[in-house]
Amino acid sequence: MINLLATTLAAEEDSNPLLPDNAELVVGSIAFFIVLFLVGKLFVPKIKQTLEERSNEIEGGLERAAEAQKEAKATLEQYQAKLAEARHEASRMREEAREQGSQIIAEMKEQAQAEARRIIDAAHAQIEADRQQAVSSLRGEIGALSVDLASRVVGESLDDSARQSRVVDRFLEELEGRARSQEQITS
C-alpha cells in the first residue's frame, strides 16, 4: 500500500504535464510535417484548382447562357422587324395593285370608249361617203333621167348644154331643198 502510494507520487513528480516529452516532440513533429506535406502540398492544391475550375465553368456557363439569350433576343427582334416590314410591304403592294387595277380599268374604259368613238366616227364617215357617192351618182342618174324625161315631155331637145345643165342644176337644187326641209321636219 505504502509502496503503491510512493510509486504513484513518484510518477506524479516525474511527469509534470507542462514539460514536454522528448519522444513525443519528435514524433509529433514528424507526424505534423508529414501531414503538412501530403495534405497541404499534395492534396489541397488539387481541390483548390478544381474549385477554381468549377467557378470558372459556372461563370463561363452563365456568360454563355446570357450571350445565347442575347443572341436569341436579337434574332427575335430581327425577325419581328422583318415580319413587320413584310406586312408593310404586303399592304403597300396590295394598295399599289388596287391602284394599278383601278387605273388599268380606267384606262381600258377610256380606250374602249375611244375605240368605240373611233368606230362610230369611221362608220359615220363611211355613211357620209356612201351617201355622197349615192347622192352624186343619183344626181347624175336623176339628171340624165330628168333630161330624158323632160325632153320626152317637152319634145324638144335641149341642145345647148349650158342651158341644159343650168336647168338640171336648178331642178336639183329645188329637189335638194325640198329633201332638206323634209329631213328637218322628220328630225
Binding site: 500500500m1 503503491l4 502510494l5 504513484t8 510518477a11 506524479e12 511527469s15 504535464p17 507542462l18 514539460l19 514536454p20 516529452d21 522528448n22 519522444a23 513525443e24 516532440l25 519528435v26 514524433v27 509529433g28 513533429s29 507526424a31 505534423f32 508529414i34 501531414v35 503538412l36 501530403l38 495534405v39 497541404g40 502540398k41 499534395l42 492534396f43 489541397v44 492544391p45 488539387k46 481541390i47 483548390k48 484548382q49 478544381t50 474549385l51 475550375e53 468549377r54 465553368e57
Partner: protein
C-alpha cells in the same frame, strides 16, 4: 490502463478522484525491446490522427471532379469552411495561398482532439503538451519568418512596438507589453490554450466516468447509486460538451495561426 485498473491503483476503500496519473502512459509493449519505449499510447494516437488526416484528404482530393461525389463533398465542405471562416477573414485576399497549411493543421488538430472521445483511444493527444508545442512552434516560426520577410527585421519590431497614432508617453508602456505578448507569450499561449483545454476536458471525463464506475459497479450502495447515476449522465453530457470543445479548440488554434500569418503579411491591419 483501463478505468478499473486506474481505480485499483488507488487501491483503498475510499473513492479516489483520478489525478495526473491518468496522463501517464508507459510504453505500449512494456516487456518489449527498449528501443520501442517511445511508442506510447499518445504517440500512437498522434500517428493515427496523422494517418486519418492524410487518408481523408487523399480520399477526398486525390482526383477531384468538377461535379463532386461522395467523400469529395465532405472534403469540400471542410475546405470551404477553413477558407471562408479562417483563411479569408484572417489573412485576406492572399489567404487562399495558405489553405494547404491551414487545412492540414485544422484537420490534424481536430482528429487529435476528437480521439479524446473515440472509444478505445479516449485520449486527446494535445493533452500532452509536447504535441501542442510542436504545432504552436511551427506556427511561431512561420510567423517570424514571414514578418521579417515582409516587413524587415527593424520594420517588424517597429510595427509591433510602435504602432503609429498614439500619444508618445503611451509607448513607454505599450512597447514592452507588445514585445512581451508578441514574441514571448504568443507561442506559449497558443500552445497552452490547446493543451489546457484538452487536459481539463480529459480530466473531467475521467472524473465523471470514474464516479459512475465506482458508485455503480465497484461499491454499489443505496445512497451511492444516486451519485453514480449522476456521474453516468454527466459523463454523457460532458462527452457531448467535449466534442464541442475539441472542435472549437481545433478551430481556434487554426484561426489564431491564420491571424498570426495575416498579421505578419499585413502589419497595418
Amino acid at each position: 490502463m483501463s478505468a478499473p485498473h486506474l481505480l485499483a491503483s488507488g487501491g483503498g476503500e475510499e473513492f479516489e478522484a483520478p489525478g495526473l496519473h491518468i496522463f501517464d502512459w508507459g510504453p505500449l509493449f512494456p516487456d518489449g525491446p527498449s528501443w520501442l519505449d517511445w511508442l506510447t499510447k499518445p504517440v500512437l494516437i498522434v500517428a493515427l490522427s496523422a494517418l486519418v488526416t492524410v487518408l481523408f484528404a487523399w480520399r477526398a482530393f486525390r482526383s477531384p471532379k468538377l461535379v463532386p461525389k461522395g467523400i469529395q463533398n465532405i472534403g469540400e465542405v471542410g475546405y470551404l469552411f477553413v477558407r471562408d471562416q479562417i483563411a479569408r477573414p484572417m489573412i485576406g485576399k492572399d489567404g487562399d495561398k495558405w489553405m494547404g497549411f491551414l487545412f492540414a493543421t485544422f484537420f490534424f488538430v481536430l482528429f487529435m482532439n476528437l480521439s479524446g472521445v473515440i472509444p478505445v483511444l479516449q485520449l486527446p493527444a494535445p493533452s500532452h503538451i509536447a504535441f501542442a508545442i510542436v504545432l504552436a512552434i511551427t506556427v511561431y516560426v512561420i510567423m517570424l519568418f514571414l514578418s521579417v520577410k515582409h516587413q524587415g527585421l527593424v520594420g517588424y519590431f517597429k510595427n509591433m512596438m510602435f504602432p503609429p497614432g498614439l500619444p508618445k508617453p503611451l509607448y513607454l508602456i505599450l512597447a514592452p507589453i507588445e514585445l512581451l505578448s508578441n514574441i514571448i507569450l504568443r507561442p506559449f499561449t497558443h500552445a497552452v490554450r490547446l493543451f489546457a483545454n484538452m487536459f481539463a476536458g480529459h480530466l473531467l471525463l475521467a472524473f465523471f466516468s470514474t464516479v459512475a464506475w465506482w458508485f455503480l459497479v465497484e461499491k454499489l450502495t443505496v445512497l451511492g447509486a444516486g451519485v453514480g447515476v449522476v456521474g453516468f449522465l454527466m459523463t454523457i453530457v460532458m462527452t457531448a460538451f467535449e466534442i464541442f470543445v475539441q472542435s472549437l479548440q481545433a478551430f481556434i488554434f487554426t484561426l489564431l495561426a491564420a491571424s498570426y500569418i495575416g498579421g505578419a503579411l499585413h502589419p497595418d491591419h
